[in-house]
Symmetry: C2
Subunit: 333 residues, 2 copies
Amino acid sequence: MILSRLGEFGIIQRIKNILETHSSDIKISIGDDAAVFQSHPGYWTVITTDVLVEGIHFDLSYTPLESLGWKLMAVNISDIAAMGAIPRTAVISLALPASWTGKQIDELSQGIAACSKQYNCDVIGGDTVRSQGTAFLAATVTGEVEPECCAKRSAAQTGDLICVTGVLGGAKTGLQILSTRPPRKRGQKAAEHFLTPRPRVQEARLLVKEVGINALIDISDGLSAEIHHICTSSNKGCIIKGDKIPVADGLKPLYPKEDKPLFFEALESGEEYELLFTISEDKYKILQQKKIFKSGFISVIGTIKDKSAGLHLVYNNKKISLPKRGWDHFKSK
Amino acid sequence: MILSRLGEFGIIQRIKNILETHSSDIKISIGDDAAVFQSHPGYWTVITTDVLVEGIHFDLSYTPLESLGWKLMAVNISDIAAMGAIPRTAVISLALPASWTGKQIDELSQGIAACSKQYNCDVIGGDTVRSQGTAFLAATVTGEVEPECCAKRSAAQTGDLICVTGVLGGAKTGLQILSTRPPRKRGQKAAEHFLTPRPRVQEARLLVKEVGINALIDISDGLSAEIHHICTSSNKGCIIKGDKIPVADGLKPLYPKEDKPLFFEALESGEEYELLFTISEDKYKILQQKKIFKSGFISVIGTIKDKSAGLHLVYNNKKISLPKRGWDHFKSK
């Protein structure tokens, strides 16, 4: 049945049937003018919103609706993680063409429900309206953080080590694999990384609670852009070591250019949803004792400098300005 | 300068320059991965989201952008009021065509800022992205309510009086005046009511705190539809007296049909953002002592009945099923 026949309340009922809430802190969920929940004493509330627009952020020709639903939740949860917070609730706004079917709503809802369950983030409300052309999806996610654990991007200190979790470039590889026609057979792991990112909630909580870090941000715009965000808002400079940037396995066969080191692809790859953080040398010693570090999951890629030092990238005995994004903007010096 | 030249961060900077936050509870505002605020002990958090889509919910040919910004905030604040809660924070997502100008962003932001200031609801974050065609605006607003004041639509009791605030039909009149070409000269008050609705936050707070009511909802879908929402979720029936429905002055000259009583226009007029509530006879006596009642601002339009009684409308010695919405769906019996 298409949405124009299901009607707004029919659509909401279908979504409601798939989504379940779990926390006893939820006092009123989907179905009233607003949802109501109880905050935990001693915590601050964290709130973030992200929009996905058809044709700009996603292409339904290669994006399963279940993945899209997952991603809508995940990109917001990643922002909650980037504050050092625990995800709690979500509200979701959907503006959909009337030609969508009930089955499509179900698939989208199943992806939303799966991510909601995985990260204990209850969907408690939303708005469902008609769009004339393309689909527009927005989610707002709330979380909670202890005041002393709240991690700002502006907290980098001179001398801090700059670290990233995981490997980078997988999302870019995934997008390329998915958008190539006919689809490539290799690279399914990268495609999955692009379609269903796994926000680093547990890892961020460990960093803010058990280690103690300074600045924290998630990599949604690309490593290079995020380093700029941290340095600008912290009023600092930096040196990044190109050969220390952890590169995803799948990148090499896709970008075998000899004149451009592979890490440049990792530097500009957005939608990675790994964590970028800065940490003092003292706290770094604590980090080295943790299992998360020993597994090789964390890489030190550079150092925070005074603002006057500027933002630089060193590799192959060269030192260049750290690009804001992308190889095309690079200028050697 | 058009948005494609301003860029995402240029746009955010313009919006930020116009919006100010006021509350000391805001710990982190626009500019980090997420915003952070402190909840008040003893309150529950209320959250709601609403989307406005160009071509569906608004038409820029007769909607000034400042009004649109106001309305985006107001429709969400009205949902917060409908829970008996106090508005606190907002996050706003904008998907805009790249052809919009910086001046347009400023006008939209000025409307958002005016409503934010009027209702003490700080805008603390958002997302700004490109849309391929029409504009999509979504806001999520949070509020706070004492657990004992939280007002659900499902709380109507048999025997409750059914009341509304203000007069109804003004929004419908306003829309008709605005969308008629050439524009009508009369009816500017109705047009303003449609463009810049005033959510009943203070009035709702008085009702939940100082009077004590049962069910509460705001009139966004039209009175008739909202009565259905209350009765369905409360598992009740009702009798509505047509001649008691308070009708906006501007309606009569626009709808002079002799065969259709004017209150039908008021019954089906959406986007009114008045309050509809049910109250016990005992609490009604308390309400009668209040200034808000004495001003004639509150009308009793009917009574809640057991579910078995159904939902009925009486007028001119006739008794008909209460329509779900609109005159066209009516069936006399």
